[in-house]
């Protein structure tokens, strides 16, 4: 067995920067991958992980800095160049040909041929069986790939990558759609790769896997590398705080604006979501909110925050679970029913799920409230214009007028249009999924002030933010999620960034299965 830290550098980048328009996606990042190590790459959304991977694999060219492969500065002009050099990427979606056989998929593009130049099927099937056996997979290689489980398909993808003699394998969230049993198998396969001296880059939001499997870890945040080191030398809490950019010692427990209003604690919850469950997505998540209360949903990316928000709003298919508003269960599980019951949602992805770019500011604002603004299906232009005018001035939406197309507005103003859309519904429960993402500081402060205003007026608010600070400052209560399940709840004076990070990290440790494999890489890392 090779020693991990002693492996030779295979692939790396030196002081790489990459800019998209005005955004610096990577800012002087250096990284070194060694033969026979599993290197975790972690960071929140937008930290630069995927940009870095794309630089390593020739999808992007760095603006500054160098890519170094086997002691030489290289330029991968295209992804194919990187592949030919022995770097392969496995994405979470399996990109093979589902209708072809397992063996065909394994050898696609370099099939063994006989003297006539035709595919030598007998040879190919024998080889395929051998290759897969190395990873402990025993399937009929003549079966079409799509007949196999997702886990086996992923394994075939990996086997294909490695059978083509690759030295670096990059795995982007490989376990996100796998069953627990399949995850085990995948982790074993990664171990085989390590033993064979392959350098593995392992991108995952699942800390459990990172700590169990990886030898070293690199943390990216806002396009910069903030940490690289052996996994054994860092605690979970430390890792989480580095990912979120909040040093534990620096974190003062932030008291929220609403804690003082104890009256809200006495009131009955207006929203009661119980046991929300969806396979692979949500696991018995329960959230309550009282009138005037801001409930934050915290957790790392992929923890199920957005899915919980959508489930409450009826926009996420569920296997189990109920949502009650003021004691009345929502039926049908549709956004339309949710709106009728007094719920409103601002979705996470403003462009894809929020605005209708072809429509005017006016039409976008009133879209959800049309039933209330019309009689017998005919829109009352008078009441519509009154509502639009009131909300445009209240939210200070900067547009040439209500007729301007929303697609032409800035991000902050688009977000205000969406806020106006939910506000004209006069909701009792407002679900906000990252309402200040990607908007300028001014608009951000305005929106945060508006949220606390609305809560003060008695609205129940569910708040998600990609910035932990924002959730902690804005919320009375915080529900912490991890891997689709609630791992803890902070109320009143316990609401703090420190507390949230501890919950995320500690929960990871508690739910770890006691596995001997875990200790091993850590031990090796210390040598």
């Amino acid at each position: 067995m090779t020693t991990t830290s002693g492996g030779l550098p295979v692939l790396g980048v030196r002081d790489v920067s990459k800019r998209f328009g005005g955004v610096l996606a990577l800012d002087g990042v250096s990284l070194e991958l060694r033969a026979g190590e599993v290197h975790a790459l972690v960071g929140e959304n937008g930290a630069g992980k995927s940009t870095l991977i794309k630089v390593l694999t020739g999808v992007y060219q760095p603006d500054e800095g160098q890519v170094i492969y086997r002691d030489a500065v290289v330029t991968f002009a295209r992804p194919l160049d990187a592949q030919a050099a022995g770097i392969s990427t496995i994405y979470q979606e399996v990109n093979l040909v589902p209708l072809l056989s397992v063996a065909r998929n394994l050898f696609l593009g370099h099939e063994p041929t006989n003297r006539l130049g035709l595919i030598d099927f007998a040879q190919m099937h024998r080889d395929a069986q051998l290759v897969l056996a190395r990873y402990g997979i025993d399937v009929d290689v003549r079966r079409p790939l799509r007949q196999l489980g997702l886990g086996v398909q992923q394994m075939v993808a990996i086997a294909r990558a490695v059978s083509a003699d690759h030295r670096v394998v990059i795995m982007d969230e490989p376990t996100s759609s796998l069953e627990p049993r399949e995850v085990e198998r995948l982790l074993e396969v990664v171990d085989v790769l390590r033993r064979d001296g392959v350098a593995v880059v392992y991108v995952s939001h699942r800390l459990e896997e990172v700590f169990r499997l990886c030898d070293r870890v690199t943390v990216l945040r806002d396009g910069r590398r903030v940490h690289t080191g052996p996994i054994a030398d860092i605690t979970r809490l430390d890792l989480v705080s580095r990912m979120l950019g909040r040093a534990i010692s620096d974190v003062e427990r932030a008291r929220t604006r609403f804690n003082e209003r104890d009256t809200t604690q006495a009131a009955e919850p207006i929203l009661r979501a119980t046991g929300l469950t969806r396979r692979h997505v949500l696991d018995h998540v329960s959230v309550d909110a009282r009138p005037g209360e801001v409930v934050g949903l915290a957790g790392l990316l992929g923890s199920g925050r957005s899915e919980t928000a959508k489930a409450i709003y009826g926009a996420q298919p569920l296997d189990e679970g109920t949502v009650e508003v003021a004691g009345t269960p929502l039926r049908g599980g549709s956004p339309r029913a949710a709106i009728a019951a007094g719920l409103a949602l601002i979705p996470e992805d403003r462009k894809a799920e929020g605005i209708i770019p072809t429509l005017s500011v006016r039409d976008n604002i009133v879209l959800a409230a049309l039933p209330a603004l019309s009689r017998a299906g005919i829109v009352s232009e008078r009441s519509q214009d009154a509502v639009v005018e009131r909300l445009m001035s209240r939210l200070q939406i900067k547009a040439s007028g209500p007729d301007q197309r929303v697609g032409e507005l800035s991000g902050g103003n688009q977000q205000k249009v969406l806020l106006a859309r939910v506000l004209c519904l006069n909701p009792r429960v407002l679900v906000l999924d990252d309402p200040t993402r990607g908007i300028d500081v001014g608009a951000k402060a305005e929106i945060q002030a508006l949220i606390s205003d609305l809560a003060a007026q008695g609205m129940a608010v569910i708040l998600i933010s990609s910035e932990l600070e924002e959730v902690v400052e804005g919320s009375d209560t915080i529900v912490v999620l991890r891997d689709g399940a609630v791992v803890g709840k902070l109320e009143g004076n316990d609401v703090s960034e420190d507390g949230v990070m501890r919950l995320i990290a500690v929960a990871a440790r508690e739910t770890d299965p006691p596995t001997p494999q875990r200790a091993e890489p850590e031990g090796r890392g210390l040598h």
Binding site: R336, A352, R421
Partner: protein, 323 residues
């Protein structure tokens, strides 16, 4: 590639503006040019009889194009309109024994049924509009031929005769019907919740669902309306020709209708509906065909010109959309 310098950026903006202008108003320009050409080169073009004829002949395409504009506004397409015309024509002939009113009602109802099937396939079962309506294009024509036993039937009925060739103050009744349909569709689009919903769905279906828009119901109604209008066009065509010929009526009319809509400024990518533009587009198609015929070019030449126009219109929209 991210750091494009400013100079080409500015030029792009100017081309965009030009493309915008063409996409929005090109149809009127084309129409004016064609009228001017005909005034100069086509004998007897400006005579009342000819003008009246052009308006009468454009009616079926115009009515169908109005329904098609709604469908395209939702980012959909309806290829089955010609077959719906044929079904309605066949049913009309079949039920004429029960009196013209009942026959027309059953014909329109038959068309509506096809529309509901289209809508349910698309909204409920997620079949792509082009596939669902292609199936109905083929199946619907077959059904029409079965109903009519593959025969051309002469249709003599005084009421239908009045509808087909009657006039009020010199204006053909069919033109008045088309005008009424245009006003109704314009009202639907601009003043009703239904109209708002349909453009919202075309503009961003995911966002529409999250905003509580009844997406399925709206889509089913849109396809049903489109088919009802096609059936109406079938009735008008049958009344005008005093004959029901299910193997030919409405053949390839979907192409003329789609071209009229797209040329009229309604983007194939949905999210917007242009009523006046659609009518102008239909008239443009009609005049092109009339111009070619009066200059002794075969009607089939019209198809080639049409094909070029639709390609040009879609190309302009594409350029515009990608900017």
């Amino acid at each position: 590639m991210a750091s494009t310098d400013l100079a080409p950026g500015r030029r792009e903006i100017r081309t965009d503006a030009a493309l915008d202008w063409v996409a929005e108003r090109g149809v009127y320009l084309g129409l004016l040019a064609l009228i001017a050409f005909n005034l100069v080169f086509t004998p007897r073009f400006a005579e009342v009889d000819n003008i009246r004829l052009q308006f009468v002949q454009v009616v079926p395409v115009a009515i169908i194009a109005l329904g098609m504009a709604l469908v395209i506004g939702t980012k959909g397409i309806d290829l089955s309109v010609g077959s719906v015309m044929a079904i309605s024509s066949a049913v009309l002939a079949l039920y004429l024994g029960y009196g013209p009113i009942i026959a027309i009602a059953v014909a329109v109802l038959g068309g509506a049924t096809v529309g509901i099937v289209n809508g349910v396939l698309i909204a409920r079962f997620g079949v792509q509009p082009i596939v669902a309506t292609l199936a109905l294009l083929v199946g619907g024509r077959g059904l029409a031929l079965v109903l009519a036993q593959g025969r051309l039937t002469e249709v003599f009925d005084p009421t239908l005769g009045v509808i087909g060739s009657g006039r009020v103050f010199g204006i053909p009744i069919v033109v008045l019907v088309a005008l009424a349909v245009a006003l109704a569709v314009a009202f639907l689009v601009s003043r009703t919740t239904f109209g708002r919903y349909l453009v919202a769905i075309g503009g961003n279906p995911e966002a529409s669902v999250l905003a509580g828009v009844p997406v399925r119901r709206t889509l089913i109604i849109v396809y049903t309306l489109c088919a009802i209008l096609a059936a109406l066009a079938g009735v008008i065509q049958t009344a005008r020709l005093s004959a029901s010929d299910p193997s030919f009526v409405g053949n390839l009319i979907e192409l003329s209708a789609i071209t009229a809509v797209v040329v009229g400024g309604t983007p194939l990518s949905g999210g917007r509906v242009r009523i006046v533009g659609t009518l102008a587009g239909a008239m443009l198609m009609q005049l092109i065909s009339a111009t070619l015929i009066s200059h002794n070019l075969p009607d089939s030449a019209t198809r080639m010109v049409q094909a070029m126009i639709i390609l040009a219109a879609v190309f302009i929209q594409r350029q515009r959309g990608s900017a």
